[in-house]
Amino acid sequence: MSDNISIRHALKKYGDNVIIPDLNLEIKEGEFFTLLGPSGCGKTTLLRMIAGFNSIEGGDFYFKDRRINDLDPAKRNIGMVFQNYAIFPHMTVRKNVEFGLKNRKLPKEKIVEQTDKFMKLMHVDEYAERLPERLSGGQQQRVALARALCIEPDVLLFDEPLSNLDAKLRVEMRTVIKQIQHSVGITTVYVTHDQEEAMAVSDRIAVMNAGVIQHVGTPKNIYQRPANLFVSTFIGRSNVLRGEKLVIENGKTYFVTKSGYKAEMTNVLPEYQKDQEVILSVRPEEFLLSKDTSVYGMTATVDDCVFLGLNTHYFVHLESGEEVEIIQESSIDSIIEPGTQIKLTINTDKVNIFTADTEVNILTGVQNDCAN
């Protein structure tokens, strides 16, 4: 009963203020799809356009082949979970959960059966006759989820559902949400600004910024081969080294840092294989650190180190003055003291390189399903 969602040339504006200029998106049937971005990027706006609570100024929205632009929100068969849960305060948990079913005019026994099933599934059956005001945030969220699932919707929408919960509950609930989604297999669109949460639950993620989708891909691909510099810095941490050079020598492609460190890159796209200025984006774990200063690499000085059990974080500055962060697996011998000179090399398999002007990734392996 699940639908795929197609969005073509979506346009959203308030007055003359354009929020989403021209957005295209294909969400596959049964997948867990997340809209991720900083606040104000238009992700909630887009979700509410899908739900029917925001007007659509242009473009087409399809559930399967059904155009839903002008379809009443009540008829879209959507299950929606709101940030503030939106539990009806004057109704018991049972009344809340069965509300959607009652609107379908199902037979009474069927309603009770279905309501019980989903209250059990979400473990809120013991509070069935309680009013919501005496429930905790986590319990209210479970009720909201039970209520959304109960109508067996074609599409499930989540608007930052975990942002009002504490960290532990957040991790617990996201696991619950993911498991439930997989077991019922409903196409799900999930909005969040928390990238870890997005990675944890999603089949695919769309990273948005300023109303434009930057990258659509699996969590792994988005992290390892971000389509552009914004994605690289928004997802996880990245050390951005600007003003570096890409040079071609004897048919081979190298990058050269300001301090003269040079390494061969074998995965630069052919059209970018030319001398140019580039930006290196190196994640903290992509630096290789050597205490032996005689090896080839960038010279750096340790400023500070933080031991976090599994890993140790080093804050160092390069000869060129740039400050970078490095993560190393903690070793049993002593930690490198601040002030120590070290040598750094870069893992060329993992590093990402962007053009200096358009800031797009010039390496192979970027899988961006974004049609823009």
Binding site: A51, F53, S55, I56, M80, F82, H90, F99, R147, A148
Partner: protein, 550 residues
């Protein structure tokens, strides 16, 4: 959900019907009033009526008097009402429920009954006056400014109490805790957090008290003596000894609207500086109050309510006293009630009930519809309706009565003397208040709750009736109770519109007082008190609320 492609909607029809009704029953009479004020009987445009008013201090003084006493009443009502609301909402006061109910009862009585009772207690030959004179203590005159101030303050502080109680309930406990957490507690927290958060409500309550006190006709009529206020002047000019002068009365009415409009605009401006919405997910838990401060809090609440309630009890007491004309004699009997039976008692009660309930139902339906239209379907049309519906807010009762009479006194809409015109004037008088409370309530309901209902397949109408209206119920009831109070005790417009067939309990009481039948008046007033008490208790019983939720 592109609106332009929507077919003709139910809500559009609702908007248009409301607009048409307002145009007929509100805008048209207002224009009639204005026309009467500036067009001479010969049909020429003239400002001579206004010249007449401003040329004599006999007239202009009434405006000064009214504004002065009303401002003082507003200030004192706030000073009395806010503390009791605070104690009631934040501390466990013993007998809190009773206090609250008694306060509502105080506000339920017609102000002029309070005035009448206070005259009986503190007037020249009042019970307390005489008693104290035995000890050589002269408490002085309560007539004039002082008397109006006392009676109106005691009458209107419960309104502040009720309003503020609602506001305090919406303060989330976490805000209180956050403030304590940052080292702000006690009086400082009361001022910088609690009162600041309640500022919109404080201003709303202040405006409400001002409008009601300004428009109050009965109290200054009975207690004012030489201190003539504006509504009294309007009434005297309209029905005074000099014969009917519609034109001058209409001109006075326009001036009254002008004054209240200025106050209204000032209040709007003040309120616009405090715009925020609150939603108490965690209502404040009432604290135990012990020791001296606990005692003082209890003493304050008890004494205040006792003093405010005293006149009601005294009236009931008087109603059983033997009485001949204006003189009470020793001994008790049901003589006053027997006289009342002969004087239209049954008809008065029936009229009050029928017209009151009818008006109330109309008011609630319209108020809920307008609140929904304005808050959830804001458009030029709906905002226009909202603005028009607020017009009566600035029209004193006497003005509305006059406007109704001028508009519907002749064909094609000759309604004078019918129940219809009374009901219409009740609705017009009370509608703005109920609309305000309904709108305020709806604004505090998060839109996502309605969206949740719609996404679960509920139609817009079902969402409205099953989700929106039940969630508004508390707010609507609070407005409705106040409206019922005001309808039952309405005097200032009824006095112009009533006749023998449509006489209400309040009117019967007033007529008895002005004719010097004090015993009879006491009997009518006592019955009025009982009727309002019973209706309140009935409401509490039906709504089954544990706490007195208004």
């Amino acid at each position: 959900m592109t609106k332009s492609k929507k077919k003709f909607e139910v809500w559009t029809v609702v908007s248009l019907v409301l607009l048409a009704s307002f145009l007929l029953f509100l805008v048209y009479p207002m224009f009639g009033l204005l026309k009467q004020a500036v067009i001479s009987p010969e049909g020429e445009f003239t400002l001579s009526q206004f010249q007449k008013f401003f040329s004599k201090s006999y007239y202009t003084d009434t405006i000064v008097n009214s504004v002065k006493v009303t401002l003082c009443v507003t200030a004192i009502s706030l000073l009395l009402g806010i503390p009791i609301a605070y104690f009631y909402s934040f501390y466990r006061i013993r007998g809190a429920k009773t206090l609250f109910v008694l306060s509502i009862l105080c506000s339920m009585s017609a102000p002029f009954i309070g005035a009448y009772s206070w005259i009986m207690l503190l007037g020249r030959s009042g019970a307390i006056t005489q008693f104290l004179l035995n000890f050589g203590i002269d408490i002085g005159s309560i007539y004039g400014f002082k008397g109006i101030l006392i009676v109106q303050s005691l009458k209107f502080f419960p309104l502040v109490f009720i309003y503020m109680n609602g506001a305090f309930k919406n303060i989330d406990n976490t805000l209180m805790e956050a403030s304590a957490n940052m080292g702000c507690t006690g009086v400082r927290r009361l001022i910088s957090i609690v009162l600041a958060l309640s500022m919109p409500t404080i201003l709303a309550a202040a405006l409400m008290v001002f409008m009601q006190a300004f428009a109050d006709f009965g109290t200054p009529m009975l207690l004012g003596e030489g201190y003539q206020t504006f509504p009294v002047l309007i009434y005297n000019e309209y029905l005074g000894e000099n014969g009917v002068d519609y034109n001058f009365a209409a001109a006075l009415a326009c001036i009254a609207i002008f004054v209240t409009a200025i106050v209204f605009i000032f209040q709007k401006w003040a309120t616009s500086r405090y715009k925020f919405s609150m939603n108490a997910l965690h209502p404040v838990e009432k604290k135990e109050c012990k020791g001296i401060s606990g005692f003082l809090m209890h003493a304050y609440c008890y004494i205040l309510v006792a003093v405010a309630f005293l006149p009601q009890l005294y009236i009931i007491y008087l109603s059983f006293r033997n009485c001949k004309g204006a003189i009470f004699h020793p001994g008790f009997s049901l003589g006053n009630y027997e006289t009342a039976m002969k004087k239209l008692l049954v008809r008065s009660i029936k009229n009050t009930a029928v017209m009151g309930v009818l008006a109330l139902v109309i008011i609630i339906v319209i108020a809920v519809l307008i609140a929904y239209l304005v808050v959830r379907r804001s458009s030029t049309l709906n905002n226009t309706i909202d603005t028009i519906s607020m017009l009566p807010y600035i029209m004193p009762g006497a003005v509305i009565g006059l406007a109704m009479l001028l508009a519907f006194g002749k064909k094609p809409l000759a309604l004078t003397g019918t129940m219809a015109i009374m009901v219409i004037s009740f609705v017009i008088r009370r509608l703005p208040y109920t609309i305000r409370s309904a709108t305020a309530t709806l604004m505090q309901i998060s839109l996502s709750i309605e969206e949740a209902a719609i996404s679960l397949g509920a139609s817009k109408l079902k969402t409205f009736t099953k989700i929106t209206v039940p969630m508004m119920a508390n707010g609507i009831f609070s407005g409705a109770i106040l409206s019922w109070v005001a309808i039952v005790t309405e005097l200032s417009s009824s006095i112009i519109l009533y006749n023998n067939k449509t006489i209400t309990l309040t009117m019967s009481t007033y007529v008895a007082i002005t004719r010097g039948n004090y015993g009879l008046a006491a009997a009518f007033a006592a019955i009025l008190t009982v009727v309002t008490t019973v209706s309140l208790l009935l409401y509490l019983w039906i709504s089954k609320s544990e706490d007195v939720k208004l």
